[in-house]
């Protein structure tokens, strides 16, 4: 079938603002949007810029807004978009991030906010364990409830969160879900530091449970659930009632 790809183009050297261009491509219902972008780049306009790497929904490079919704272009097939012969599909860069060229966005803010929540293991002070650290499956359940451990940092949630649009300093769903992922880790002792980082005006309290992040996440992460749990832990911390382990 033949579809029209309406792609938002922007060349920083010649354009003052982005504009739309339409490319006709021959695809099947099983073609991923990413493959169609490659078709355009290979056969119609070699100057089209977009990020991609693994084409298997695991690297998180190719997130963009397709038909007004953030997602991975390698995962969005024309069939899942409900596209029929002759339909037009819009492809834009992720929102809430500056555009470098065409579909390539500058993710500096996104990474900086992730860095701000100490997204790494902060073990307890003292001598390192002398033997293997065994963790019971039940002890990992809180993390797995939210699926925060499988975040691929593609930025889809950050793009479609209206609170990030309204408050550019808001840490955003991905960073907060990552904060929860390490707070809930049974080997970690860094929860007080992370709560300090997220219990603030531009942290967990900016989340208004809009659930756009949950809807667009290509990996099934539930950042809202993670943020709500962080909120409860933050309240307990303020009340000096913080128990040792998250719940």
């Amino acid at each position: 079938m033949r579809v029209a790809l309406r792609i938002q183009r922007y060349n920083p050297e010649t354009d003052r603002r982005p504009h739309w261009e339409t490319y006709g491509v021959e695809v099947t219902p099983q073609t991923p949007v990413l493959d169609a972008l490659h078709l355009v780049k290979d056969t119609q306009d070699g100057s089209l810029a977009f990020r991609r790497s693994c084409r298997g929904s695991i690297c998180g490079s190719c997130a963009m807004r397709i038909n007004g919704r953030a997602g991975l272009s390698c995962k969005q097939l024309f069939a899942t978009l409900g596209a029929r012969d002759g339909d037009a599909i819009t492809v834009e860069p992720l929102a809430n991030l500056p555009i470098i060229k065409d579909l390539v966005v500058d993710m500096t803010d996104f990474w900086a906010k992730r860095q701000a929540v100490y997204p790494w293991l902060l073990p307890a002070e003292g001598a390192p364990p002398t033997q293997e650290h065994l963790v019971a499956a039940t002890a990992q359940q809180p993390i797995m409830d939210t699926a925060a451990e499988i975040c691929i940092m593609c930025g889809a949630c950050y793009s479609d969160c209206p609170m990030v649009g309204l408050d550019p300093h808001y840490l955003g769903p991905a960073a907060l879900a990552n904060a929860y992922r390490f707070n809930a880790d049974p080997r970690d002792a860094g929860e007080p530091r992370r709560l300090e980082a997220v219990d603030q005006e531009h942290g967990v309290w900016r989340c208004h449970t809009i659930f756009n992040c949950v809807e667009v996440c290509p990996k099934g992460v539930n950042p809202t659930q993670a943020i709500e749990r962080l909120k409860r832990r933050a309240v307990l911390r303020r009340l000096r009632l913080l128990p040792q382990r998250p719940g």
């Binding site: 922007y10 920083p12 354009d15 603002r17 982005p18 038909n67 007004g68 919704r69 953030a70 834009e92 929102a95 809430n96 500056p98 555009i99 470098i100 500058d106 793009s159 479609d160 969160c161 209206p162 990030v164 649009g165 309204l166 208004h208 449970t209 809009i210 659930f211 756009n212 949950v214 809807e215 667009v216 539930n222 809202t224 659930q225 709500e228 749990r229 909120k231 409860r232």
Partner: protein
Amino acid sequence: MYTPKTSGYWAPRAGTGMWAWVLQRLSGIVITLYLFAHILTISSALAGGASFDSLMSLLENPLILALEMPLYWAILYHGLNGVRVVLFDLGIGTRSQVAIFWGMMAVAAVLFAAGVYVAWPYIMGKPLA
């Protein structure tokens, strides 16, 4: 580099959660404006019972009563969706937010129908007192 000014305010294909949030804001504005109007009319009592009575008789107009029905809906919506959001804060329902939304809306619909049933004769012109 181009920084879009507004693209992130709105997810064009928003789901239930986003509409629930937008309507929560709008109904909140409606209720706040009503509250000020309410305080204003009540404060007419400061100028004496007569001025209050004359204003009240004006507000007993069936048209005003009819306008109170959308207000009633706004309050029902805001309150019940507010309960939904409080449930999330208590750790309930982040996995079933859409179902909870429609459950709350079903409760709102029943209460709204009951309210309209009670108010209907007065809207049609039956005197209030």
